[in-house]
């Protein structure tokens, strides 16, 4: 097993979460993300976080792997949090310098953003870590099936999604190799101000882009050679099966929402 779960990586284990139907997991993930936006105070937010922690434990994927998966996003989250703290107004003002100020509302909003980003990314990681990509694509295809009536190419979109998910770990590995290659030639990615650091990323982005194009071209050729055609009907190896556990999981999510409503009133 890989020592890091990143968005898009599946971890083959046997757990109650793994056993759920991919459609249930996809619905629950979307439902959970929406619910997170209704948990705007401390107690509902804590409740939503505890529910997620319970799901993480039930998935049997080691917590440190989820943490490793969240780490790459932390820098983006922290930048957003800092911007929120420095540029929000309202509430009690603690400090200000020109048009920059730190206020009580700004700090509250920053915490809220930090919490939302963290739980949403982690919940999405649970979905991809416990569901094989092709099953996830089938579930997505099922979910957007009504769009077929509007002539939307549902099957193609879902396969595209599954391939995109499969490419994420590959692209992350590419980034590491390219950065190591640049470091070995004297590049210091941690030196200089923000602009300089962004400029240093340019020699990473260009080869990454070229590599990604190469990967996608090779994969397209391999898929065609294996009989994939945009116009042909396909069968599916993994059949999605709705079980009693899926009904129970959806009911439990309803309980989570009732909990949010009650805690919002406190």
């Amino acid at each position: 097993m890989s020592n890091m779960v990143i968005f898009g990586s599946y971890v083959p284990l046997s757990s109650p979460i793994h056993r759920l139907d991919a459609r249930t997991k996809l619905i629950l993930c979307i439902w959970y993300v929406i619910s997170v936006f209704f948990a705007n105070h401390l107690w509902p937010a804590l409740w939503v976080s505890l529910v997620l922690l319970a799901v993480l434990i039930m998935s049997r994927v080691p917590l440190k792997m989820y943490w490793a998966g969240l780490k790459p996003f932390l820098i983006v989250i922290l930048i957003t949090v800092c911007l929120q703290v420095l540029f929000s107004s309202g509430g009690q003002m603690y400090w200000h310098f020109g048009w920059i100020s730190v206020t009580s509302d700004g700090i509250k909003n920053a915490f809220l953003i930090f919490y939302r980003f963290t739980v949403i990314i982690t919940a999405s990681t649970v979905l991809t870590a416990t569901t094989p990509t092709l099953q996830l694509a089938s579930a997505f295809s099922w979910l957007i099936y009504p769009l077929k009536w509007l002539k939307v190419p549902v099957d193609k979109i879902s396969l595209m999604l599954s391939i995109a998910l499969r490419f994420v770990p590959m692209i992350m590995a590419d980034i590491k190799v390219i950065m190591d290659a640049q470091r070995s030639r004297g590049m210091d990615f941690h030196q200089g101000n923000l602009i300089t650091r962004l400029k240093h990323l340019l020699p990473v982005v260009i080869p990454l882009f070229v590599n990604s194009l190469q990967h996608s071209e090779d994969l397209a050729i391999a898929m065609e050679a294996r009989g994939y055609s945009l116009d042909r009907q396909r069968t599916q190896y993994r059949q999605l099966r709705w079980r009693k556990g899926d009904n129970i999981a959806l009911l439990l999510m309803l309980v989570v929402d009732v909990g949010i409503c009650i805690l919002n009133l406190i």
Binding site: M1, I163, I221
Partner: protein, 275 residues
């Protein structure tokens, strides 16, 4: 199946002046192991992509027995000619072994209830049964290529093309693939076409085709083609180990058989001499 025939085939990409395959006609035997050797850009991969129908010739015709390789027969051609590519990372669609082996079956509308048995059989053939539910990303390069071969075998092709499929593997991975190819060849059901730069691999075949700048320079049984040291030197292809030993022995005045010896044959000959 009796023969694979290229008849005055010419190919160049649209908007390109460079002719990659230049009016070539040749025949390849079937149910044999065939090696295609030549430099980078000599047209080896292009020839095989034409055979699989991934590319269509600008002129000429390719036939596999009576089946013409063209856009009308693509499904049949893809089914008949399976391909394994160079980079194991770039040819998988599924995240687990079973899902990926199933990809070809899904494309050919095989009933889902038949798939588990076919997948098991394909994995057993390549010796990867216990990895059925493993993540592909957790496998070694050699194992990934064996899974790629299983994906091809699952749709029961008659021709298996390996496009430099061992060039990115370590020696162990390379050896495991060569052993597997030997096994498939001995089964007698498949025509194996292997594109390679390595004459040690090429000499394991029954038949060799040499390409240079889109032209076939040699096409015949392995010993006949690889004994043409003048041609191989012109193409700067390093001879196989057995041939290198033979040349060294000749250079120090030791009498050796006046015919091409594959490395294994050379070892046997040396052993006999030393005894």
């Amino acid at each position: 199946m009796r023969e694979i025939k290229f008849n005055h085939v010419t190919f160049k990409y649209p908007n390109s002046q460079k002719i990659l395959i230049d009016d070539q006609s040749f025949t390849l035997p079937t149910n044999k192991w065939i090696s295609i050797v030549g430099h980078n850009g000599s047209g080896k991969s292009t020839i095989m992509r034409l055979l699989n129908g991934l590319l269509q010739p600008n002129k000429g015709q390719i036939t596999i027995d009576n089946l013409v390789v063209n856009e009308q027969n693509l499904e049949e051609v893809h089914k008949l000619v399976g391909m394994v590519f160079q980079n194991p990372e770039n040819q998988f669609v599924g995240s687990t072994v079973a899902e990926d082996v199933a990809f070809g079956l899904e494309n050919y509308n095989v009933a889902p209830e038949e798939m588990p048995m076919i997948i098991k059989q394909a994995l057993a053939t390549v010796g990867m049964t216990k990895y059925e539910n493993s993540l592909i990303s957790d496998l070694s390069g050699g194992q990934k290529q064996r899974i790629a071969i299983a994906g091809v075998l699952a749709v029961r092709p008659q021709i298996i093309v390996l496009d430099e499929a061992t060039s990115m593997l370590d020696p162990m991975g390379r050896e495991s693939i060569m052993k597997l190819l030997r096994k498939l060849h001995d089964d007698g059901h498949y025509t194996i076409i292997m594109i390679t730069h390595d004459l040690n691999e090429a000499e394991l075949a029954d038949h060799v085709l040499v390409l240079e700048q889109g032209k076939v320079l040699a096409n015949g049984i392995t010993e006949e083609v690889l004994s043409n040291s003048k041609l191989l030197k012109e193409l700067q292809l390093a001879p196989a180990t057995g041939e290198q030993i033979r040349e060294k022995l000749i250079s120090v005045g030791i009498s050796v058989p006046d015919k091409y010896l594959k490395t294994e044959e050379m070892v046997r000959w040396l052993k006999q001499k030393l005894n």
